[in-house]
């Protein structure tokens, strides 16, 4: 019965796999032991490189081995450099008449070091085939290229293209691509085209949308910096992203990109601005529109004509580091006009009606400027969303987006309706109920603060109508200039310690 065909059973197959595994483990231990011994002995030679290759090819995530490799590579490069210097010193002058020979001598150590780099690049490429998301392998590739003054960045760009064809969502490759395109000085416009292609293949791709968000503000800057990019381009982007969102509303990547588009682009890198300020008989309070933990490092002074008063030693009164009180005793100067200077910001203070002291207040502004064309685009988009809501009244992202669009178009006219959408969202997306409540509170406060300067007892009293049932009180730092906060007892109880401090509460 020799030579008869028989198929291995799964049992036998398992047994065989086990044996294979055991053999691999044995080999791995042996190689690791050998590597550690060699390193202790300081033997950073070619054998070391070969040994590490064997393990890394199978498991590219052993950081130690990559570190050892880097030691080896640096060692090798240093030796080659020394060799080159030696050769140069040895080369007798008379040999220079045969130009070819001289060139050959020159290029040899250089060729060798290029070969070292190539070996490293090839290895990382093999490792990335095993695990395309290996942090170590990507890092080693960057490191190798950094060492090589003659690195071929175009080749790296092609590598990125290749890898993104395999997996257009690999964020490692996108990260690496940004690094490479900067080195290779790839025009941003060309990158944007590439990015668009990838989105056409599969728009469910956070990496690609993110890549766009970095390229667009650079390519199409917004003059006023209150939008992420020029309005013309913004319209096109809004159009594209809404198409994606409508094609698959359950894919969150497009909606997130859309929120970024509708936001005021420069928000992140902007310095915190003075939002409110009050100077009383005994002290001062200051509110910023966004946190600045390092307020005490900034020069803050009051100016009246030629007189100047330094305001130093501020203490933060909220966890968000947006509301501050002056620690030092300070007597309110008897003057008619005062200016507050905070670094390079300058604001004029107004006297408090029927009381001593001065104040400054500017409500948080929620809306960025809007040209006619952009407004038309936003309105078209809103209409599409509302159309869609007729078919799918419970579509979460559509509800949220239409609320955002309404506010972008006309915040005061659409205030109530946008809040209805949030109330509905609390039900259809109950998992994020708290998020919607918080957002609703922020919108209510934005609207109330905008109306506050018209109130009778402004700025000494802030009153929040009873019927506004809020879950929290965001933007509380703006209220620090009021003597008294009138909010419902329920909210006061709910907030407890989190109730924003008012001017009256602070023992100045």
């Amino acid at each position: 019965m020799h030579g008869r065909v028989k198929v291995r059973t799964t049992e036998e197959e398992r047994e065989r796999k086990k044996k294979e595994q055991a053999l691999k483990v044995r080999a791995y231990r042996a190689a690791m032991g050998r590597i550690q011994k060699k390193r202790e002995a300081g033997e950073l030679d070619s054998e070391m490189l070969t040994l590490t290759v064997q393990i890394l090819q199978r498991n590219p995530d052993v950081s130690t081995l990559w570190n050892i490799r880097r030691e080896c590579v640096l060692d090798k490069l240093a030796k080659l450099k020394a060799e080159a210097a030696e050769k140069e010193a040895e080369t007798p002058k008379e040999e220079e008449n045969t130009e070819g020979a001289a060139e050959k001598n020159d290029s040899q150590p250089e060729d060798k070091s290029q070969a070292v780099f190539t070996t490293e690049l090839d290895l990382t490429e093999q490792c990335l085939m095993v695990n395309p998301k290996s942090y170590n392998a990507w890092h080693h590739r960057c490191w190798t290229l950094e060492q090589n003054p003659r690195a071929d960045w175009q080749r790296e760009l092609l590598l990125c293209n290749k890898y993104l064809k395999f997996d257009e969502r690999n964020f490692h490759t996108w990260d690496y691509r940004r690094y490479v395109t900067e080195k290779a000085a790839v025009p941003a416009a060309q990158e944007l085209d590439f990015c668009t292609e990838k989105i056409k293949v599969n728009f469910s791709n956070y990496s690609s949308w993110h890549h766009r968000s970095l390229l667009l503000p650079e390519l199409y800057p917004n003059e006023r910096r209150d939008r992420p990019m020029s309005e013309e381009k913004l319209q096109q982007e809004l159009d594209m992203v809404l198409t994606a969102a409508f094609t698959d509303p359950n894919d969150s990547s497009a909606w997130f990109y859309q929120r970024w588009l509708l936001g005021s682009g420069a928000e992140l890198d902007r310095v915190p601005k003075v939002a409110a300020f009050r100077l009383g008989a005994k002290g001062a309070v200051l509110a910023l529109d966004k946190p600045n933990p390092e307020l005490n490092k900034l020069p803050i002074e009051l100016v009246s004509g030629d007189e100047k008063w330094q305001l130093q030693n501020w203490q933060s009164v909220d966890s968000g580091k947006t509301a501050w009180k002056l620690q030092q005793a300070f007597d309110c100067p008897k003057t008619k006009s005062l200016t507050l200077k905070l670094a390079d910001q300058e604001v004029n203070l107004s006297p408090i009606p029927n009381s001593d002291g001065f104040y400054y207040f500017v409500p948080p502004h929620a809306v960025a400027s809007c040209s006619k064309e952009l407004l038309a685009e936003l309105q078209t988009q809103l209409q599409s969303c509302l159309d869609l809501l007729e078919y799918e009244p419970d579509s979460k992202w559509t509800l949220l987006t239409s609320a955002l669009l309404m506010r972008a178009i006309d915040v005061s006219a659409n205030h109530d309706q946008s809040l209805t959408h949030l109330t509905k969202l609390e039900k259809v997306d109950a998992l994020r109920e708290g998020y919607y409540k918080d957002l609703a509170a922020r919108w209510v406060l934005e609207s109330e603060l905008a109306k506050w300067p018209q109130a009778a007892d402004f700025p000494t009293k802030f009153e929040l109508a009873e019927e506004k049932s809020l879950a929290s009180l965001p933007l509380g730092q703006y209220l620090i200039i009021a003597d008294e906060l009138k909010v419902s007892p329920k909210l006061r109880e709910e907030l407890g310690e989190r109730l924003p401090k008012s001017f009256g509460d602070l023992e100045l």
């Binding site: 019965m1 020799h2 030579g3 008869r4 065909v5 028989k6 198929v7 291995r8 059973t9 049992e11 036998e12 047994e15 065989r16 044996k19 294979e20 053999l23 691999k24 044995r26 080999a27 231990r29 042996a30 190689a31 032991g33 050998r34 040994l51 064997q54 090819q57 199978r58 056409k200 293949v201 599969n202 728009f203 809404l242 198409t243 994606a244 409508f246 094609t247 698959d248 509303p249 599409s384 159309d387 869609l388 078919y391 799918e392």
Partner: protein, 517 residues
């Protein structure tokens, strides 16, 4: 040579068409001795593919009363040779002549029976399950098309297609996606309101109730569900699901086309049959079949030799079993070669690939399938395009059966036809008296994929060998062990090459080093 042939078989299969090859492979795979015999000098019978010259020769062949391929003709629309005064390459635009096309004859793979495979369809599943797929190569179909406002347009199939198409508004996109998702989920929830409400009504009624626009409706009816106005709701849903279930597997569309033509497929099955010991004889006819009442065996005489078989399976159209049988037109086929493709540039980017278009005649009662092949299909020379047109036969005249569709396609287009050919594939309308103990396969039916053919093969196989599995997975070479070995032993030769090399490296490394256990 004939003398070497054994005389006793479990099964003799006459005809090497798709269905017969399936049965032969399945029988051989479960250990039956099989003789597969065909009087033609090629594999595949009416499922075969031909080079240009052999195709013309096949069309010219004398038709016998029981032939399945009949009413065949072809016409050249270009001159035999180029006039001598004219240089062939004027302004880089090649002028084709009969001679220049014939010079590339071997680049053609002209199918008698072209098909498109659903990427998750019966055949693909069978090929994977049986491991026959290793013998075949495929190209993902590039575009599924439809006619809309007299134009041929691409139907958005995948999510990215829907996203990228400029022809739908965003609300339409949402409606289409929503509709497709609903179809995809259909059947999971039996109590779904829709499915109750529309039971017994037509699919078109359901579609209209979904408030979809006219354009989306034609996308779905013409290209996705591929149904007519009278298709029932249930069937339309099933067809849509079949389409959607095949999406996202191999390419942008849910379809595959076999590289080098569909004639490859019967041969893949024949190869498996031969691997398991099946014997092949082409150019060999069976002259007579009789039943030995004593042994209950069939006695065949072929080329002066007597063969005995426990069972015989035959394709229609082969003598002697089909002699005297009435043949009925079944499929009308048109085959065209042109120097430019149908549809706009967008549909034929980079020279085009494989495009599929389902056509309906003016009153929507009759349908035809058009498959357009470029040289990327491996079935056509570069610079030329092959159009396969197929419709259920209504008469003995394939050209007139197809005229409604050819006029839709070619009348107002700029397609430059070089060659056109028509033929009929017939089926048997009754069995011959001699065929009582013989199992018949059916002639190709009008379908896109091979579902009917496979079910026919399965049915015949089950009649023959009720207890045996139909085409179980064939093992890969590395899974095979030779008897007498320890089957759990780590046999180096049974590992994939790269792993073998790695293990070898490791073993060497292990030997060289001091191992601390």
């Amino acid at each position: 040579m004939a003398d070497d042939l054994p005389e006793q078989f479990d099964l003799v299969v006459i005809g090497t068409g798709f269905t017969e090859s399936c049965i032969a492979a399945a029988a051989s795979r479960v250990g039956k001795s099989v003789l597969h015999i065909d009087s033609n000098e090629y594999y595949g019978d009416v499922w075969s593919s031909f080079s240009m010259d052999t195709y013309c020769a096949r069309i010219d062949r004398v038709v016998e009363p029981h032939s399945t391929l009949r009413n065949a003709s072809y016409t050249w629309h270009v001159a035999e040779t180029a006039p001598e005064t004219e240089s062939i390459e004027t302004q880089g635009d090649q002028r084709w002549t009969r001679d220049s096309v014939m010079a590339k004859s071997r680049r053609f793979s002209l199918d008698l029976c072209p098909r498109i495979l659903y990427a998750a369809g019966e055949l693909v599943q069978l090929l994977i399950k049986s491991n026959i797929c290793r013998y075949a190569e495929f190209r993902a179909v590039d575009h599924v098309c439809m006619r809309h406002n007299e134009e041929i347009v691409s139907v958005p199939c995948s999510r990215s297609d829907v996203f990228n198409t400029k022809s739908l508004t965003i609300v339409e996109k949402r409606l289409l996606m929503k509709f497709l998702t609903a179809c995809n989920d259909y059947g999971e929830d039996k109590c779904n309101e829709d499915s109750l409400e529309f039971r017994g009504r037509t699919f078109l009624e359901y579609l209209q109730a979904q408030r979809v626009t006219e354009k989306i409706s034609s996308c779905v009816m013409q290209a996705i569900a591929m149904c007519g106005p009278n298709t029932s709701f249930e069937e339309g849903m099933q067809r849509t699901q079949r389409f959607l279930g095949s999406l996202g597997r191999y390419g942008n569309t849910p379809f595959l086309f076999p590289m080098y033509g569909c004639g490859e497929l019967p041969q893949c099955f024949c190869r498996l049959c031969a691997v398991y010991g099946g014997i092949y004889c082409l150019k060999r006819a069976v002259d007579d079949i009789g039943l030995d009442a004593e042994t209950n065996e069939l006695v065949l005489s072929s080329a002066g030799k007597t063969l005995r078989a426990k069972n015989v399976v035959s394709a229609p159209g082969y003598s002697p079993v089909s002699k005297g049988v009435e043949m009925r037109p079944h499929i009308s086929r048109g085959l065209f070669v042109a120097s430019n493709p149908l549809g706009n540039e967008e549909l034929n980017k980079g020279g085009g690939g494989v495009n599929l278009l389902r056509l309906l005649d003016a009153d929507g009662q009759r349908e035809a399938i058009l498959i357009q092949l470029s040289h990327y299909s491996g079935a056509c020379p570069e610079g030329l395009y092959v159009f396969h047109l197929t419709t259920p036969a209504v008469s003995e005249d394939p050209a007139s059966d197809l005229s409604a569709f050819t006029s839709l396609l070619f009348d107002r287009s700029d397609v430059q036809l070089i060659f056109s050919s028509y033929f009929t594939i017939a089926s048997q309308s009754n069995k011959s008296a001699a065929a009582e103990h013989i199992h018949y396969t059916e002639a190709p039916t009008f379908e896109l994929d091979y579902d009917a053919a496979i079910s026919n093969a399965r049915q015949v196989f089950n009649k023959l060998y009720a207890d045996a599995e139909f085409l179980p997975r064939a093992p890969d070479p590395e899974e095979i062990v030779i008897d007498g070995e320890d089957p759990s032993a780590l046999n180096e030769n049974s590992l994939p090459e790269d792993l073998r090399a790695q293990l070898h490296d490791m073993q060497q490394a292990t030997q060289e080093m001091d191992i601390q256990e």
